[in-house]
Symmetry: C2
Subunit: 343 residues, 2 copies
């Protein structure tokens, strides 16, 4: 039976993770879960972000379920670079998977888009690009200060994530992959991405392809999100585009994500796209749907496609039954979804 | 009297520029315009992108009005790096100004946003960041290929554009500046931007401030564009965010921009955000409003605030009189706006 590590984290993290675990238990009884105390709270208490011993223990699990980490009192970058990105990079989670669907029952901020019309998935590269941490500062706090950030892109790293995107597209109905980059300005990285994309596309004659600059894609996600099926893009562009995709499909409260190591050499990690939302933490008001959908991605990745599909269907029923504008109660949502999954 | 250089360019460029010039003539008779043949057509004919002699001649003008350059047969980067970015960098156009308003008569794709509610301006840095061209490729076309792009940020370059944003905000009604970056991942550049922002903010106690990560800002531009007044951000983030802002306010067909050298040591350049749109070129179907609004920004920059305001008001009247979904005729739109300006 699967052994998962749970990092509930800060703010609403523990609240939504509790519901996700309820739902996992209902869908696949017997999953073993071990909790790890990481995040802002631990950092404040002990100064530790991610001890090596914990990293080693996490590596021994089949997957990681993460709630949300961070609060405004931690300096920017400490938990992001030290915990989230450290896990993505250490565990070589090169596929950052972010599906966006406009569910029946959910209102899009877009006037012209109807539920069921948007069903896309962004395959964001997770281990390279501007996230590599290759930057520096000279002459800090003087008029001569210069700060750099370097985007590192390897053929190895790009080709494997592009291949994952094509493999996913070939299993979907529309079988289309859109490459998003900025080849007209970032000519070196852009050319590498474009050539890798072309090479992999040749292996998938049944999958149609298109290319868009990132500024155009950001625009089309607002004006015609229906046009996308699978989108493959670099780490930073994916960060931005997936928040737009979440916004047009009802908000990051519903957006799930997986940081996946498809080779299985390290555990993959699943987490809602939303943050720790300190403003509503502790009040049972957070929507656990994003965490529950992340749990479904987790089970799917571990080979339990059936349990995952039942969770996804139950989420669909939960959302379809909602009244627009109605406040949710975290535990009640989890209870309803778990009951539906068990039924 | 002002002497401007006109680069009409390719595709719909010449069509929309012709209308912008009509409107300039109506608003401020006597502006001297010299045409420069640059863009895809010249590149194909002569192989030249921007001869040094032309760069020198352009430098002798008070401002540049540009239509659109490019067509799909030119390799990516040739005209962008060789012409557009070359001009922005050579003429130290460090303020890339992009206003977005939801005009009465224009339908936003957003269900909840009404005309008059969105009125923001993005002050995008124009001479640094990932646009610096500091990238390279090793082992090209081998499995060991690596490609880099470097974001270069100087205190000098950041502080001056942030100062421009605060100066603009202090002249606006809401007096608010939002800094957008990704300080939690791009910790070096992000820290430089955040510190420069804080230092300049201290000089403007009447201007309120906020900070957002770029992914959050992309989302809020879709869910709550009303919240923004002045947004200041780096070159690449600004490229993406201004296309989103254009999309939610009726599309890039209406979006104007200025690449401004506020010191006046070189000419500033004004151009619609849209491209050369080869698909509709030559048919008189392009909306010249973005080019006309760019001409208004140009006149404003040259000290003709009054003429600029009359153009802007005439555009407002034109848009308010439109029937949603109605096709436009390029020359008729220009004629109507010019007549209104002259009246
Ligand atoms: C918190 C941050 C490091 C992270 C990212 O930029 O990847 C987040 O925005 C996300 O999208 O998962
Ligand atoms: C054409 C391209 C170089 C340019 C940019 O990226 O700045 C365009 O997208 C813009 O926004 O003016």
């Amino acid at each position: 039976m699967a052994r998962i590590a749970v990092v509930a984290g800060d703010g609403i993290g523990p609240e939504v993770v509790a519901e996700a675990r309820k739902v996992i238990d209902a869908a696949l009884p017997g999953v073993e879960a071990t909790e790890y105390d990481l995040g802002a709270a631990r950092y404040h208490r002990t100064g530790e972000v991610l001890p090596d011993s914990v990293l080693t223990e996490l590596a021994g699990h089949d997957a990681i379920l993460l709630g949300a980490v961070g609060d405004p009192t931690v300096p920017p970058g400490v938990l992001e670079r030290g915990l989230l990105l450290k896990l993505r990079f250490s565990f070589d989670q090169y596929v950052n998977l972010r599906p966006s669907r406009l569910w029946p029952g959910v209102t899009s901020p877009l006037a012209t888009v109807k539920p069921g019309e948007v069903d896309l998935v962004v395959v964001r590269e997770g281990t390279e690009g501007l996230y590599a941490g290759a930057g520096g500062t000279l002459h800090r706090d003087t008029p001569a200060e210069v700060a750099t950030e370097e985007s590192l892109n390897t053929r190895h790293g790009v080709e494997r994530v592009v291949r994952d995107a094509f493999a996913r597209a070939s299993r979907r109905e529309r079988r289309k992959v859109t490459l998003v980059h900025k080849t007209n300005v970032l000519t070196h990285a852009g050319s590498l991405w474009a050539r890798a994309f072309e090479a992999v596309a040749a292996e998938y004659p049944d999958v149609s392809t298109e290319y868009q600059h990132v500024d155009a894609a950001a625009m089309f996600l607002v004006t015609q999100p229906q046009r996308y099926d699978v989108v493959v893009t670099d780490n930073l562009f994916g960060d931005i585009l997936t928040d737009i995709a979440a916004a047009v499909t009802g908000g990051i409260g519903l957006a799930a994500s997986g940081s996946i190591n498809p080779d299985g050499s390290y555990p993959s990690m699943f987490e809602p796209v939303h943050g720790s939302a300190p403003d509503i933490a502790g009040r049972g008001l957070a929507d656990p749907v994003a965490a529950v959908l992340s749990a479904a991605l987790l089970l799917d990745q571990l080979g339990h496609a059936d349990a995952a599909a039942r969770i996804t269907a139950a989420v669909g029923a939960e959302l379809a039954a909602r009244t627009p504008g109605e406040a949710v109660r975290t535990a009640e949502v989890g209870d309803r979804i778990a009951a539906q999954v068990a039924a």
